[in-house]
Amino acid sequence: MFMKMMKKLSSVALAAMVLAALTAGCGGGAKKDAAKPAGNEIVVGASFELTGNVANYGKSTLSGFQMAIDETNKAGGVNGKKIRLVTSDNKSEPAESGNAVTKIVTQDKVVAVVGPATSGCVAAAEPVVTGAKVPLIAPCATAPGITLNKDGSVKQFIFRACFIDPFQGQVMATFADKTLHVKKIAILFDSSSDYSKGLADVFQKTLEKNGGQVVAKEAFLAKDIDFKAALTKIKASNPEALYVPGYYEEVSKIVKQAREIGLNVPMMGSDGWDSPKLAEIAGSAALNNCYFSSAFSADDKDPGVQKFIKTYKDLNKKDPDVFAMQGYNAGLVLVNALKTAGTTDGTKLAVTLAATKDLSVASGKFTYDKNHNPITGAIVIAMKDGKQTFKEKINL
């Protein structure tokens, strides 16, 4: 009996030995790989959610990124060197994301990482790339905090390729001023959502800076059904337009009820409106004269966008979505930085990335602000008989 115990433990030892042999073997193998002469290629990593809950985001983004790299290689690569893409999957799980990024950074020795798609996975990958001094571009992580340290200083190696939520507030305020030519605007926002509150604040600030005025500011809560009290108050203040940042579930009911009480002013919103359900609930007639901001529209007449859509369609046999476009943009931004920097040194590359200015990407011009957030074009979509139509592109 006692003998057995010891054997049990010695077997633990044995199992660990087997592991030792395996890992040692693999570690050695990886070293050999890394030692391969990499003179004619630049290794770039892509770590995405390729399986798991949000695999559709990850796959879409990767397809766009892949396209940017393939185009670059076809056009002769970067300063005569081809780009080799190494991908790894993080199972849509933040801890696994740390693992996946560690692999491509330490084993494949990538010079830069693109991905992951979601903010949580980016946050988990951040210490790894910062420790290894390898820049990371998150194509579609919108949480404002991921490029910033707790004290508000910018994280040297983290970049993103999408606009952050508050940016849309600025876009719509500019749209109200320049296109709709309205000054007196009412705001109806969701007080239970950070997204909605943030947008409402930024919108108000930009509007007042442009000489506009908020005539009424009312709040609702997510899952509310009746908005007539708030809407009647707003109507009494005689606004020229109404701004409703929020998600389609409440927004569709707000639009419907606003038209029912005879509030027929233009209504504006954010990308939370973007859903087929919007027209289903609100009705197509009520949605006329409604506009919302978005990052991407397939109807955009811009030649750059149309070229991107066509190339993507030929390659992938399906329509690109906003994630594919952001992945593509991230690819272009990275390639541009590699070309300009002329080196693969992570620190220099990060400096070059931060200096990206007026680069042509699929969504317009692309410039980084001091917080590594892109200042790029946003799209305003107008609802016409229940269908989304491209209204205009706003460059700030």
Binding site: S10, S11, V12, L19, E93, A95, E96, T102
Partner: protein, 319 residues
């Protein structure tokens, strides 16, 4: 010096040796950061699998809510180091106690259930813990608890794992452990023999939960983040799979299961499209060929190897 103590010392010696080998390999950078990370992950998974094995294997209660206790440990530990600024050892102890206490509270009512019902109750429980965390803004809610320092190292996780394995081994061979085994074999008979079945079931459940909590603290302090997406029921199934693959009721089985599955998962990271296929095929083949798991309820031991060598080589290895 009695025989048990001698054997334990021998085993300890073996552990020191293994640790020394790995540490040297890490220092010489033969094992790079990626495999070092996976070795830490293997240690964490070994703790999880062998603690679940206490509940599912030794006591015969079918729990599939282990990720919930892992989450409690991960978050409580992170609160202690990040929010309260206390030292790491305190956080480890706090995470362990918190998860164990929760296991105790939950174990009392749910362990009256058995079989499928207990499985469903524990499954729901794991999800409840996760959903609660998801809605607590203090710990970051849906965006996760960020900014956790990396305090776990291969050294501390390895020795914590050894201590826990040693505890579990001794537990199994104690009077309490034998009571648990009796409950697994036949609950009514055990009851008749005067074993307080509820007490022992709750005891095994509490201990299992507590160790999962320890693993949780180590987990969040290695990956810099505690995120609700890491503690879904899929995670519970992963742990259960390790236990079943190795053989329910076998500690060495759980260890092997944890090593094999973590290794497969790490190795296949670059072939995401193949990962789940290989993973599933491994399970299917194993369940067809060896439904009792790799080791059944037996322990992998030096005796087994002696027997094997005898059979193969015909060489008698004397004492």
């Amino acid at each position: 010096m009695n025989k048990q103590r001698k054997n334990d010392l021998l085993a300890l010696g073996a552990c020191v040796l293994i640790y020394a080998i790995f540490e040297v390999l890490i220092q010489l950078e033969i094992i790079g950061p990626f495999w070092e990370l996976n070795m830490v992950l293997i240690c964490i998974n070994i703790i999880l699998a062998s603690s679940l094995n206490m509940i599912n294997g030794y006591t015969g209660q079918f729990s599939i809510g282990h990720a919930g206790f892992l989450a409690v440990g991960a978050y409580v530990g992170a609160i202690f180091t990040v929010k309260l600024g206390l030292p790491f050892p305190v956080a480890i102890i706090a995470g362990t106690i918190a998860a164990g206490f929760l296991g105790f509270l939950i174990g009392l009512p749910t362990l009256r259930l058995n079989g499928d019902y207990l499985a469903i109750a524990t499954l729901g429980l794991g999800e409840i813990i996760r959903i609660c965390i998801l809605n607590i803004d203090y710990v970051g809610g849906a965006s996760g608890f960020m900014g956790i320092p990396r305090l776990t190292s291969f050294t501390n996780i390895f020795w914590i794992m050894i201590v826990i394995l040693f505890f579990i081994k001794n537990f199994k061979n104690s009077a309490h452990g034998r009571a648990c085994l009796a409950i697994r074999e036949n609950e009514i008979a055990a009851d008749t023999m005067g074993i307080d079945t509820t007490k022992y079931k709750v005891m095994a459940f509490t201990l299992g939960a507590a160790f999962a909590g320890t693993a949780g603290v180590m987990f969040s302090h290695y990956f810099y983040i505690a995120h609700p997406a890491s503690f879904t029921f899929m995670r519970s199934f992963d742990i259960l799979t390790m236990v079943v693959l190795g053989g329910l009721g076998s500690m060495t089985g759980s260890i092997t299961g944890a090593i094999v599955l973590t290794f497969i998962s790490a190795y296949l990271a670059e072939f995401p499209e193949w990962r789940m296929i290989v993973y599933s095929l491994t399970m299917i083949v194993l369940m067809l060929r060896r439904p009792q798991g790799l080791f059944g309820s037996a322990e992998l031991s030096a005796q087994m190897f002696k027997g094997l060598t005898k059979r193969i080589g015909g060489v008698k290895i004397g004492k």
